[in-house]
C-alpha cells in the first residue's frame, strides 16, 4: 500500500475509482455494456494521441503537429483505399510510413537546426495540414472498405469490449516497456531531464530526438487510422481537435512539460479521467450552456486531488529527512 501511495498514478487511480463509483451509483446506466463500450472506444484513440505527445514531452519538447500528422495519415489512408484502390494492409503500411516520415522530419530539423521543436512542429503543422487540405480540398473520402468499417465497429465476442481498443492496449503496454525497460527509452528521459548532462554523459541528441519524433509520428498515424475506422470516413478535419487533449492527459498524469518526467500509466489514467468527465457531462444531461464550466471545474478538481497526494508525500519527506 505504501509503495502504491508513492506511485505517480495513485492519486489518479483514486480519482478514477471514486468518480466512476459515484457516477455509477447516481446513474446505473454508466456501467451498462453499451456505455462501457462507448467509453472504451473514445479512450482507444485518445490514448494513442496522448502517448504520441507524451513521448515528446519526455524529451522536454512539444509536438504541435500530432493532429496534423494524424489527419494527413487519415486522409492518405482513406484516399489510397478509395482513389488508388490500394488494399487495406498496404494502405495501413503506407499510412504508418507517412506518419514516421513526418515524425522524422520534425526530429531531424529540430536536431539539425537547434531550433526549438515548438517552432519546427508549428511550421510542420502548417505543412502537413496544408498538404491534407491541398489533396482533399476539404472534401472527405467516403468509400472505406467494409473490413475497415467492421473493425471500427466490432466487439470482441459477446463482451462490450471494442476491437478498436486492442491496438491501443498493446501499444500502451509496449510504450511502458519502452519508457521503463529499454535503454533508448531511459536515455530519452535522461535527455529530457537535462539536455546538457545527457550530452556530457554521451547520449546522442540526434538519436534520442529523432527516435522520439519518429515514434510520435508513428503513434499519430495509428491514431489517425483508428479514427478513420471509427468514423468510417476520412475527413480532412481529423486531428484538428487533438492538440489540447494530447497535452491534457499527460499533464494531468503529472508529466512535467520541461521534460524528463512522464508516466505511461498516469497518462492512461489521465485519458480515462478526461473521457469519464466528458461522458458524465452527457449522462447527467448538463445544460449545454453549463457544459464548459463543469468541464473546467472537473479538470481542476481531478488535478487538485492528485496534487493533494503529492503534498502529503512532500510533508512526509520533510519529516523523514529530519530523523
Amino acid at each position: 500500500m505504501a509503495a502504491l501511495f508513492k506511485k505517480d498514478w495513485f492519486g489518479l487511480l483514486i480519482v478514477v475509482i471514486v468518480s466512476g463509483l459515484a457516477i455509477a451509483v447516481l446513474k446505473p446506466a454508466f456501467l451498462s455494456p453499451f456505455n462501457l463500450y462507448v467509453l472504451m472506444v473514445s479512450i482507444s484513440y485518445m490514448l494513442i494521441i496522448a502517448l504520441a505527445q507524451m513521448i515528446i514531452i519526455a524529451i522536454g519538447q512539444m509536438n504541435l503537429s500530432v493532429g496534423a500528422i494524424g489527419g494527413l495519415v487519415a486522409i492518405s489512408f482513406s484516399g489510397l483505399m478509395e482513389v488508388q484502390q490500394v488494399s487495406v494492409p498496404v494502405a495501413v503500411l503506407i499510412g504508418l510510413i507517412i506518419g514516421m516520415l513526418c515524425g522524422f522530419l520534425n526530429g531531424y530539423i529540430t536536431v539539425r537546426s537547434g531550433i526549438s521543436a515548438f517552432i519546427i512542429t508549428l511550421a510542420t503543422l502548417y505543412i502537413f495540414k496544408g498538404i491534407n487540405l491541398g489533396i482533399t480540398e476539404a472534401e472527405p473520402f467516403y468509400n472505406i472498405p467494409e473490413t475497415v468499417k467492421n473493425f471500427g465497429n466490432a466487439k470482441i465476442g459477446n463482451t462490450p469490449i471494442p476491437f478498436l481498443i486492442i491496438i491501443p492496449i498493446i501499444i500502451t503496454f509496449l510504450m511502458w516497456i519502452f519508457m521503463n525497460r529499454t535503454e533508448t527509452g531511459r536515455h530519452m528521459l535522461a535527455y529530457g531531464n537535462s539536455v546538457q548532462s545527457a550530452e556530457l554523459i554521451g547520449i546522442s541528441s540526434s538519436k534520442v530526438v529523432i527516435t522520439a519524433h519518429v515514434i510520435s509520428g508513428f503513434l499519430a498515424a495509428i491514431a489517425g487510422m483508428l479514427v478513420v475506422c471509427r468514423l468510417q470516413l476520412g475527413t480532412p478535419n481529423i486531428g484538428d481537435s487533438w492538440l489540447l487533449p494530447s497535452f491534457a492527459a499527460p499533464v494531468i498524469g503529472g508529466a512535467i512539460l520541461a521534460g524528463g518526467k512522464v508516466d505511461v500509466i498516469a497518462t492512461s489514467l489521465g485519458v480515462l479521467i478526461v473521457a469519464i468527465i466528458s461522458q458524465a457531462l452527457v449522462i447527467f444531461k448538463i445544460d449545454p450552456f453549463f457544459v464548459q464550466i463543469f468541464l473546467g471545474v472537473m479538470i481542476l478538481l481531478a488535478v487538485f486531488v492528485n496534487r493533494y497526494r503529492e503534498y502529503k508525500q512532500e510533508a512526509r519527506r520533510k519529516i523523514f529527512s529530519s530523523e
Partner: protein
C-alpha cells in the same frame, strides 16, 4: 616509444569574446596522477572538455596513445578508454543512483530489456568501493551534494577507464571522504596502471597525491609537466597567480562588541531542528560547523523565512520578530543568504553578469515609477565586480559562460552590493582558486570589521578556524556545542570533532 598516453599540443580554443586556451600543451604520463592547476577561468575545464570530446579545439593536436585522434562526442572519448567527472554535476536527478551509474552501459536481460536487479548489484559494488552506504534505488534528487559527487566518481570508475579525468572531484567532499577517494586513486594507478588528471584548488591534496603538475594561466602554460618534487607550495602559487600567496591573518579589530543583533531562543523548525539557541553580535563571525547533512543550510533557510520556524523566538535588535519570506528578510531585517548551490539557488544562469549582481539592489536604487537603468546598476555594482576581480569579457556576458569560480564570485558580489546587516554565507569558497579564496577571506573579515554580522557555514575546517570568532557545532539538526575560537588549529579542531561525536 612513447611514455605519454595522452598529449595535447598547442591547443587553442575560443568562445565568443574569450580565448579560453592559448597554445596550451599538456602531457599525461602512463600510470601517473597529473595535477592540472590554475586560477578560476584559466582554462582547466575547457582542456578537459576537449579531451572528452565535448568541445573541439580550434587548432592544435590531440594525441591519444601516440596517435593523433579526433573526438566528435563524449562517446568517442569513452571508446578510447577515457572517462571523466566533470566539474558540473551531471547526474539525472529523477533517476536512481544505480541507473545513473550504469547509464552508459546498462545490463540487459535475455530479451534486451534493462535488468534493474543487475543494475542494483553492479552499482552497489562501485558504491562500496568508495565506502558509500547508499541504496542504489535512492533517487539522485534525494542525495546531498557530496553524495552526488561521490556517485559521479563511482560512475567514472565503473567504466574501468585507462584515463580518468577528475575536474574538482573533491570540491564538496569532507576530508574523510577525500581521504577514501585518494587511497583508491593511488591504488588504481599502482595496480591497474590508470592515468589520472586531477583538477583541484586545494593544494594540500595536490601535494598529497600528484606526481606531475601542469599550470595554466589565462589559457597559456605557466608550466608543463613539472615534477611535483621540484615544487613547493610557494613556487606553485607563484606559477598560478604570478605572485606570492598572501596568508590571511585574522586581525579582527572590534570583535568585542556585546551588541546582540540576532538571537534564536529554543527554536524548532518544520524541517526538524530542535532547541536551537544562538546569539550573534554586531561585527561578529559565527561559524556553523558540521558534517554534510547536519542541517545547517536548512536552519538558515528557516531563519530567512523560506521554511517555517514552528516554535521558539527570533529576536532581532532586541525585538521579537517573525520573518516570513526571504524578501522581508532582506528588506525589513537586512539579512542576506549566499547559497551553497550557486547554479540552482544562487545565480540565474541565462542572465548576464550585470543582472545577476544587481538582483538584490533594484529595489534600493530605483527612482520614481521604478526607473532603473543599466547605467545606475553599473554604478552600484561595478565596484564589487572589479573588487572581486571577476573574470569576464563584459558585464553582458552570460553567467553560464563564466568559469565556476567566477560564478561563485558573482553570487558573493550581489550580496555585497545589497549591503546587509546580517550575512549568512554558506560554503563560500567551494571551487574557488586560492587567490580568490584568500581574497574572500579578507573580505569576510573586512565586512565583519565594518559592522556586518556574519554566520558562516563551511565544511572546510581550516577556513572555519581562521575566520570564525566562535564556532557552533551542529549534528543531526541539533546544536552539539559552542567552541570559542582562539585560532589555534590543533586544539580547536579536536574540540570540534569531540562535539560532533557527542
Amino acid at each position: 616509444m612513447n611514455e605519454f598516453c595522452l598529449e595535447i599540443s598547442s591547443a587553442n580554443k575560443s568562445f565568443p569574446g574569450v580565448k579560453a586556451l592559448d597554445q596550451a600543451t599538456f602531457q599525461l604520463r602512463k600510470a601517473s596522477i597529473h595535477a592540472l592547476l590554475g586560477e578560476n577561468g584559466a582554462g582547466k575545464s575547457t582542456l578537459i572538455k576537449i579531451i572528452t570530446g565535448v568541445h573541439k579545439q580550434d587548432s592544435g593536436k590531440l594525441i591519444i596513445n601516440g596517435k593523433e585522434e579526433t573526438l566528435n562526442n563524449p562517446n568517442d572519448a569513452t571508446k578510447f578508454g577515457i572517462s571523466v567527472v566533470h566539474q558540473e554535476r551531471n547526474l539525472i536527478r529523477r533517476f536512481s543512483v544505480g541507473e545513473n551509474l550504469m547509464l552508459n552501459n546498462m545490463p540487459k536481460t535475455a530479451l534486451g530489456l534493462i535488468d534493474y536487479n543487475e543494475i542494483a548489484i553492479q552499482s552497489k559494488k562501485w558504491l562500496k568501493i568508495l565506502d558509500l552506504d547508499i541504496d542504489p534505488n535512492t533517487l539522485v534528487s534525494d542525495l546531498t551534494v557530496a553524495k552526488m559527487q561521490l556517485c559521479e566518481i563511482a560512475k567514472a570508475l565503473s567504466l574501468k577507464a585507462k584515463i580518468l579525468l577528475l575536474d574538482e572531484p573533491t570540491s564538496s567532499l569532507s576530508p574523510q571522504e577525500s581521504k577514501i577517494l585518494f587511497s583508491l586513486l593511488k591504488k588504481i594507478v599502482r595496480e591497474e596502471g590508470v592515468s589520472i588528471v586531477f583538477v583541484s584548488h586545494k593544494l594540500e591534496e595536490v601535494f598529497n597525491i600528484c606526481d606531475d603538475v601542469t599550470v595554466l594561466r589565462d589559457g597559456q602554460n605557466a608550466c608543463t609537466s613539472e615534477d611535483i618534487k621540484n615544487l613547493d607550495r610557494q613556487k606553485l602559487v607563484r606559477l598560478m597567480i604570478g605572485r606570492d600567496e598572501q596568508i590571511v591573518k585574522s586581525t579582527r579589530k572590534n570583535q568585542n562588541t556585546k551588541d546582540t543583533i540576532l538571537a534564536l531562543k529554543n527554536v524548532k523548525t518544520e524541517l526538524g531542528h530542535k532547541n536551537i539557541n544562538l546569539e550573534l553580535n554586531r561585527s561578529e563571525i559565527i561559524g556553523l560547523y558540521g558534517l554534510v547533512g547536519a542541517g545547517r543550510t536548512e536552519l538558515m533557510k528557516c531563519l530567512i523565512g523560506q521554511d517555517k520556524i514552528t516554535d521558539g523566538e527570533v529576536i532581532i535588535n532586541g525585538k521579537k520578530v517573525t520573518i516570513n519570506s526571504p524578501k522581508s528578510a532582506l528588506e525589513k531585517f537586512k539579512i542576506g543568504y549566499i547559497s551553497e548551490d550557486r547554479k540552482k539557488e544562487g545565480l540565474i544562469l541565462i542572465h548576464n553578469v550585470l543582472d545577476n549582481t544587481s538582483i538584490t539592489v533594484w529595489s534600493q536604487i530605483k527612482k520614481a515609477i521604478g526607473f532603473v537603468s543599466d547605467g545606475m546598476i553599473s554604478k552600484k555594482v561595478d565596484p564589487y565586480i572589479s573588487q572581486l576581480e571577476v573574470k569576464t569579457p563584459s558585464n553582458y556576458q552570460l553567467i553560464s559562460n563564466l568559469s565556476g569560480g567566477n560564478q561563485q564570485k558573482i553570487s558573493v558580489a550581489k550580496w555585497l552590493a545589497a549591503g546587509t546587516d546580517i550575512l549568512i554565507i554558506d560554503e563560500p569558497t567551494v571551487g574557488i582558486d586560492i587567490k580568490t579564496k584568500a581574497y574572500l577571506h579578507e573580505l569576510i573579515i573586512k565586512l565583519a570589521d565594518d559592522g556586518t554580522s556574519i554566520i558562516l557555514i563551511s565544511s572546510d575546517m581550516p577556513e572555519m578556524i581562521s575566520l570564525a570568532d566562535k564556532i557552533i557545532v551542529m549534528n543531526n539538526f541539533q546544536m552539539n556545542g559552542i567552541v570559542e575560537n582562539n585560532h589555534d588549529y590543533d586544539s580547536v579542531s579536536s574540540k570540534i570533532m569531540e562535539y560532533i561525536h557527542t
